[in-house]
Amino acid sequence: MNLFEYQGKRLYQDFSIPTPKSIFISSISEITDNHGLTYPVVVKAQVQVGGRGKAGGIKVAKDFDELSKFSGEILGMDIKGHIVESLLLEEASDILEEYYISFTLDRSAKSYLMMLSAKGGMDIEEVAENNPEDLIMLHISPSKGLDSETIIKSIEDAKLNESYKDELSDVISNLYKLFVEGDCDLVEVNPLAITNNGVSALDSKVSLDMNAIYRHENFKDFENEIPIPVSEQFAKEKNLNFIKLEGSVGIIGNGAGLVMSTLDVVSEHGGMAANFLDIGGGAKAETVTAALEVLESEDNVKSVLINIFGGITRCDLVANGIVEATKGKELKWPIIVRLDGTNSKEGLSILEQNTNEKITISSSMDEAAKLAVEGAI
């Protein structure tokens, strides 16, 4: 889950990573003259999209009048389709130098990767492309971790300002600690600046590994603060992995691979999927009922394709869910069901005993996709 800048900076504070003094607001009425910040103050739009500065989402205010004016202008602004709903008001820093640092998992090396560069504050992908020697890439063993000698050596290799070596070393060590102990998929600071007040993380890009939510109480709080599209709210309440798409064939499947593949096959038959909906592994009857309810509230759905290949998921439970959701109901659209794998015989016989004229059973994925595309016309 990708965090907003202000959320990432809260984590930085928890891990003693210095950031400029700031306040967070989501309404203009929250700004008063005694905010405690020293001018100039930077007004920063909190949106999860690159290029907010160029789009006018970052402005420097020299007094209270400007602070109110800019805040009013930026709140509600549309930046590349993202509406600004909150602001971070932050004391401006005198920047002496700007660095880049990130921690992430390198999947192919199966280890952690630190990237460090003295050329921060600019497009780091360009640095990596044109001046790869300016980007230090250091793999870190997940079981051994990152020791202070290695950090010092990286600071030297990246040619960062050596008079700040100790301070930088602490910050890097704490960023790594946040990455590991905080179960982050990504911790990226660009720029990590040397300012008149010392080392400071001026921006934050943090992404959390939601599989670790059970050991972090604050993950849920962060999640609650991130707006989700209205179309996905209901599905989220039901714990379903749902993404709205543009087409007319509603899709329900088990396993991300099979669902993606179902979208591909529907497209090959000339149709377009209305959504991506993965009921996951080991789904119960209620899960399937909830999935159908989600599609019922989607106007663009004209037919529904249920493509299940049972493994850990049992087809008899899926069939029970379908019957539960459709029994005695007049359905808005045709449903094509394909069941294979674990307990598929039992599942098919449940459907055969509870016929509904809008439900068609198909014996193959290809045929089912074809029927669903035809049903959506």
Partner: protein, 289 residues
């Protein structure tokens, strides 16, 4: 021969007393798999449908000669369970558990490499089946038949789809393996391709990938250099919407890799026959065996 499991495979099930563990362990046993033990701390001495339960994997291995662990332990305890099985000497650990934090996976992988010679399959995978010999995992064995095609996939349910397409055309399989789609899989495409290439029973290979990461591109490079057996491939996600990306670190690490078309191109270049629809996998294999 098959790869990784055969008639001699003796399975200890970690989490046999749970609903999923019990359901699939008994299914595996009915299929003929030697399911010799289960573990559950505090329940040693009990049994599930005749399968003895032990407190630790070590005790189970000692008493039954188990050489393979199948893990259904919930995410918070999965890392320790896998390491316990490895330290107890299991050659193969099949971790079915879904939802393990990436940090646990990375650390677990590191420790397994460094301190043990165990192979981990998964986590978040359907396991593997060598039809006619052994089924260790949650794959529906009804759709498999013994034969000469090796199947490897990142996605569980797509593995089943591919296997069914083969069986429908009367083409059997040597071993079907789901490596799982998590960030740090214990066994990679390359490990499996290498094993299939060296397996006398396997005559052709089906490899199923999906968008994201660079595992398919790395596999393509390996195929180009090391695999002489015919490979049929399918990549899921050609029409999937692009995911939201954040920051630049990921882009620098993966470069142009990750899209369906990049993967299809790499595999085609490596000599694999890449089909655009999973229902064509069977026919494509029929054309080469």
């Amino acid at each position: 021969m098959s790869i990784f499991i055969d008639n001699e495979t003796k399975v200890v099930v970690q989490g046999l007393t749970g609903e999923q563990g019990k359901f699939h362990a008994l299914r595996n046993r009915d299929y003929g798999t030697k399911v010799v033990a289960g573990t559950r701390p505090g329940k040693g001495g009990e049994s599930v449908e005749g399968i003895p339960i032990f407190n630790t994997v070590e005790e189970a291995v000692e008493a039954t000669g188990a050489n393979t662990a199948m893990t259904f332990v919930p995410p918070p305890f999965a890392k320790d369970a896998v390491l316990e099985a490895a330290y107890a000497g299991c050659d193969l650990i099949v971790c079915i558990t879904e939802g393990i934090p990436a940090k646990d996976e990375a650390e677990m992988y590191d420790l397994l490499k460094e301190k043990t010679s165990s192979r981990l399959l998964g986590p978040n995978c359907p396991g593997l089946i060598s039809p006619g010999k052994s089924n260790v995992g949650i794959m529906p064995h009804e759709i498999t038949m013994e034969g000469n095609v090796g199947v490897v996939s990142r996605s569980g349910t797509l593995t089943y789809q591919a296997v069914l397409e083969l069986t429908n055309l009367n083409i059997g399989q040597s071993t079907c393996i789901g490596i799982g789609g998590d960030p740090v899989p214990g066994t990679s495409f390359i490990d499996v391709l290498d094993a299939f290439q060296n397996d006398s029973q396997t005559e052709a290979i089906v490899m199923i990938g999906e968008i994201g990461g660079s595992a398919e591109e790395e596999a393509a490079e390996f195929i180009k250099k090391n695999v002489t057996k015919p490979v049929v491939s399918y990549i899921a996600g050609l029409t999937a919407p692009p995911g939201k990306k954040m920051g630049h670190a990921g882009a620098i690490v993966s470069g142009n890799k990750g899209t369906a078309s990049a993967k299809i191109e790499a595999l085609t270049d490596a000599g694999a026959n890449v089909v655009e629809n999973p229902t064509r996998i069977g026919q494509a294999i029929k054309d080469v065996v």
